[in-house]
């Protein structure tokens, strides 16, 4: 009797274990309703909210630039893609070479992915003509201007644009090269929203950009509008 009971108990326990085991694979697969990892949205909000839920920062404004090949570069150039933006000038003797060598590292990491583009704005358009930008890009080893744009516009326009990218750039006679600017790399999604700001002078922060770019690319893939059913 005793033996029978204990055997029955054992059978029940075993069945329970098996049943649990059957559930285990389900527990391991991620819940389809669970939110995937997303990067935060950064930036400043200037416009008055249109509703209580309208708390997102202003998107990157409209812009029209000219790149190193003399081609126009607008928001449309980056439609359906993500891009990394920075501000520099070709004769910059201080932080730019370090910045652009770090940007080159990000470029190399995503060279095979046409959904990741790069945009370097010159803050010294008076010196950085289109031929100067083209020479700079070629010397850096960038042959494909459609992947990494080195772009110019009027000086006051580029300063305003820099502040929209929450980057600092201004004329400073005391700074080496005549301009002061920070070395921020700004990650922008296909909805013109800033999704990351990284210090291009700090290797660890650039490593984080390289790690976070795929998170944004995955989100972009999931959010792609599906055909109406």
């Amino acid at each position: 009797m005793n033996t029978f009971l204990s055997r029955a108990r054992r059978t029940v326990a075993l069945a329970a274990l098996l049943a649990l085991g059957g559930l285990l694979p389900l527990a391991c697969t991620s819940n389809p309703n669970e939110e995937p990892e997303r990067l935060s949205v950064y930036g400043l909000k200037h416009a008055a909210p249109t509703s209580p839920s309208d708390t997102l920062p202003d998107p990157i404004p409209n812009f029209r630039l000219i790149n190193q090949m003399g081609q126009p570069v607008t928001n449309q150039t980056f439609a359906g893609k993500v891009y990394v933006a920075d501000f520099f000038f070709t004769s910059c003797p201080s932080i730019c070479p370090k910045m652009q060598s770090e940007m080159l590292r990000v470029y190399k990491a995503f060279e095979g992915n046409p959904n990741v583009l790069f945009l370097s704005h010159t803050i010294d358009p008076n010196h950085d003509s289109i031929p100067v930008l083209r020479d700079y890009a070629e010397r850096l080893g960038i042959k494909d201007a459609s992947r990494w744009h080195f772009a110019r516009t009027q000086q006051d326009t580029v300063f305003k644009l820099a502040s929209a990218y929450v980057s600092g750039a201004q004329i400073d006679k005391k700074a080496a090269g005549g301009f002061s600017h920070d070395g921020a790399f700004v990650l922008v999604d296909s909805q013109r929203r800033i999704r990351g700001v990284y210090d291009g002078m700090v290797k660890e922060q650039v490593d984080r950009l390289i790690a976070e770019l795929p998170v944004l690319l995955k989100e972009e893939q999931l959010d792609k509008p599906v055909a109406a059913q």
Binding site: P97, Q100, S101, R139, L140
Partner: protein
């Protein structure tokens, strides 16, 4: 016997003290490079593509040995060729460094990263700096 030991110990102590002094100065070149040069020329002297020339393993260091102190002091503008590759960026000068700092910085480069050139004495570097009125005598 005892005296010999004592003298030996004193000599060893003196030697240790001296190396202590020199070690400090030897590191100065590497520290100055990290502060003033690495952002453009790279943390290992590797340069940046065809934009910024390397300073590691370059013929330029030997060929232009007598010009280097003035290049650090006054900067450089216009095209130049390093290891057969042409570059054309502006290099800023360094009025903020003393003659001896320029000497230590250049001696660090002359004896590291594949460069094997004769280091300068501070006096020699000051003389070379005199050619561009760049010596501060310190």
């Amino acid at each position: 016997m005892n005296r010999a030991l004592l003298v030996g110990a004193a000599g060893a102590a003196l030697l240790l003290n001296l190396t202590g002094c020199f070690t400090e100065r030897q590191n100065e070149g590497a520290q100055l490079y990290a502060t003033h040069c690495a952002s453009c020329h790279g943390d290992q002297g590797q340069g940046l593509q065809r934009l910024i020339p390397p300073v590691a393993g370059v013929d330029f260091m030997a060929q232009r040995r007598a010009d280097l102190p003035c290049i650090i002091r006054k900067g450089l503008k216009g095209p130049l060729v390093v290891n057969g590759i042409s570059y054309n960026q502006v290099m800023p000068g360094h009025e903020d460094l003393t003659d001896s700092q320029i000497t230590n910085l250049l001696n660090f480069l002359h004896t590291n990263w594949g460069n094997q050139n004769q280091p300068y004495t501070i006096r020699e570097a000051s003389e070379l700096l005199g050619r561009c009125n760049g010596s501060d005598g310190q």
